[in-house]
Amino acid sequence: MAKIIVVTSGKGGVGKTTTSASFAAGLAKRGHKTVVIDFDVGLRNLDLIMGCERRVVYDFVNVIQGEATLVQALIKDKRVDTLNILPASQTRDKDALTQEGVEGILEQLKQTHDYIVCDSPAGIETGAIMALHYADEAIVVTNPEVSSVRDSDRILGILAAKSKRALDGLEPVKEHLLVTRYDPSRVDQGQMLSIEDIQELLGISLIGVIPESQSVLQASNAGLPVILDEGSDSGQAYQDFVARFLGEERPMRFLEAERKGFLKRLFGT
């Protein structure tokens, strides 16, 4: 049975699309048939991060409106052959998404995939609600700062109230906390919330911590999901996260500030 997972946060710019791309690529790399859907209609970004922006012909909205078939709109990733991308439309707005349309597409995708990753837009409006509505599990992406935590809390409340599982009285959506852009040295200086603080405030289980890293931006610019940059710290952190999602036990890494050696202190990083 295919699983639908929403990657959401409430707040913008915390790393939802980066996470969606790496999460989907990570699942696919392990042999699972995976599709990642960009729900950010009007501000499509996922295709850029996945490096397939020039291959977009038809999009999510075209399929909903019957202008194209799902097969025409799906883009097969060139690096991982079990990965498909369903891009958003750049020229429409989020009202083009209809509940029935989304449900129909998800039902079709379920037939041919193991995992369906929904990349939610920021905010709590139509697009975000649509992205989380059919979710079985949710990855709540949070940065270690109060506004991000507050917005994550809000979106958790919406998951508990407005998701299909909640409305149908089924088992609630399984929630996972993923902390991104974590900088242990700034946590030590009291400029950022610690993992413990965030967990205490949100009260959901932690599935991963992605350190703040140059490699994320570099990978994004290169159109490569950072999880495929296997040498980088954030790439490894995403691999740990995917492993934990699939049930493996992995210790949390990148929680301690790196001790600067004498030369590094002298010359800077």
């Binding site: 507050r150 809390d153 809000r154 958790l156 409340g157 508990a160 405030l201 009260g203």
Partner: protein
């Protein structure tokens, strides 16, 4: 239905859009309302006494729904003209809603004047300190009011509409999930017990008391329909705002260090909202 709310209503606008999902919802509710005991059938006499009485109690009874107690007028002649009594009371800015303890004829007449008949054993109203005067006893009417009585503890009421309360049990709303930013919970006509955190940006309200066996980081409002005796209890006090019966305190930056993250109770002492650690 022995009692009707006297609504102080400073917080009412906070929850008026709660039930807008469907056009209507029917619920049983217990209210506290003043009872006007009439001891004369002479309308002029009643009016005079009422004017004297109301002038002393300031605007407390303005537009208050009241029940007319007819017990003392059952045998009196001539009978009461309820249409005129209605007009008289409304002229004094009272809203008569029902009569009680009258004779059969009186009840029939009251009914045709658009008043409801309250039957059954009615709760003993508590004479509160706000009752402005005792001298009303020897005038044509007496006014008992118990508006501050907590709706949820007026359990002695034998009124048939509040059947569950006959057993002495108090209805309570219990929440075991975290209440998250943007969520709002209202325990109508009862106490509220929360077993998980009330996070910043969340709002919980109860007509009765509020108990939180976890951190309170958001807003908590107890006694929202005027229950000044209601209290708030919490395990770890980190609130943004607390209120009882419309008296509130906001904690702009952070709460005072003496009670921060401590188990506390919050209650109204006169006009003052006290936040006291629980040892």
């Amino acid at each position: 239905m022995d009692t009707v709310r006297t609504d102080k209503s400073t917080t009412k606008d906070l929850f008026e859009n709660i039930d807008n999902d469907s056009a209507i919802e029917i619920k049983g509710s217990v209210f506290t309302l003043p009872v006007l005991k009439i001891k004369s059938t002479q309308l002029a006499q009643i009016e005079l006494a009422l004017k004297q009485h109301l002038s002393k109690s300031l605007s407390f009874f303005r537009n208050a729904p009241i029940v007319i107690d007819l017990e003392s007028t059952k045998q009196l002649q001539p009978g009461l003209d309820f249409e005129q009594l209605n007009t008289l009371l409304r002229g004094q800015q009272l809203v008569p809603v029902a009569v009680q303890k009258g004779s059969l004829e009186q009840h029939l007449a009251a009914e045709s004047a658009g008043l409801a008949i309250l039957t059954g054993q009615l709760s003993k109203s508590v004479k509160s300190d706000i009752s402005p005067t005792k001298s009303a006893d020897d005038t044509a009417l007496a006014m008992d009011e118990s508006p501050q009585e907590q709706p949820n503890v007026s359990a002695q009421s034998g009124s048939p509409v509040t059947a569950p309360q006959d057993t002495g049990s108090v209805p309570t709303k219990i929440i075991s999930q975290p209440i998250r930013s943007g969520q709002r919970i209202y325990a109508r006509g009862c106490d509220l017990i929360v077993l998980a955190a009330v996070n910043a940006g969340a709002e919980i309200m109860a007509d009765g008391n509020i108990h939180i066996y976890a951190p309170l980081r958001g807003r908590a409002l107890a006694g929202v329909t005027g229950g000044e005796n209601n209290r708030i209890f919490c395990h770890s006090f980190e609130a943004e705002l607390v209120a009882i019966a419309g008296s509130y305190r906001v904690f702009e930056d952070t709460v005072p260090s003496g009670v921060f993250k401590k188990p506390v109770q919050i209650y109204l002492r006169g006009e003052q909202l006290d936040i006291v650690p629980i040892q």
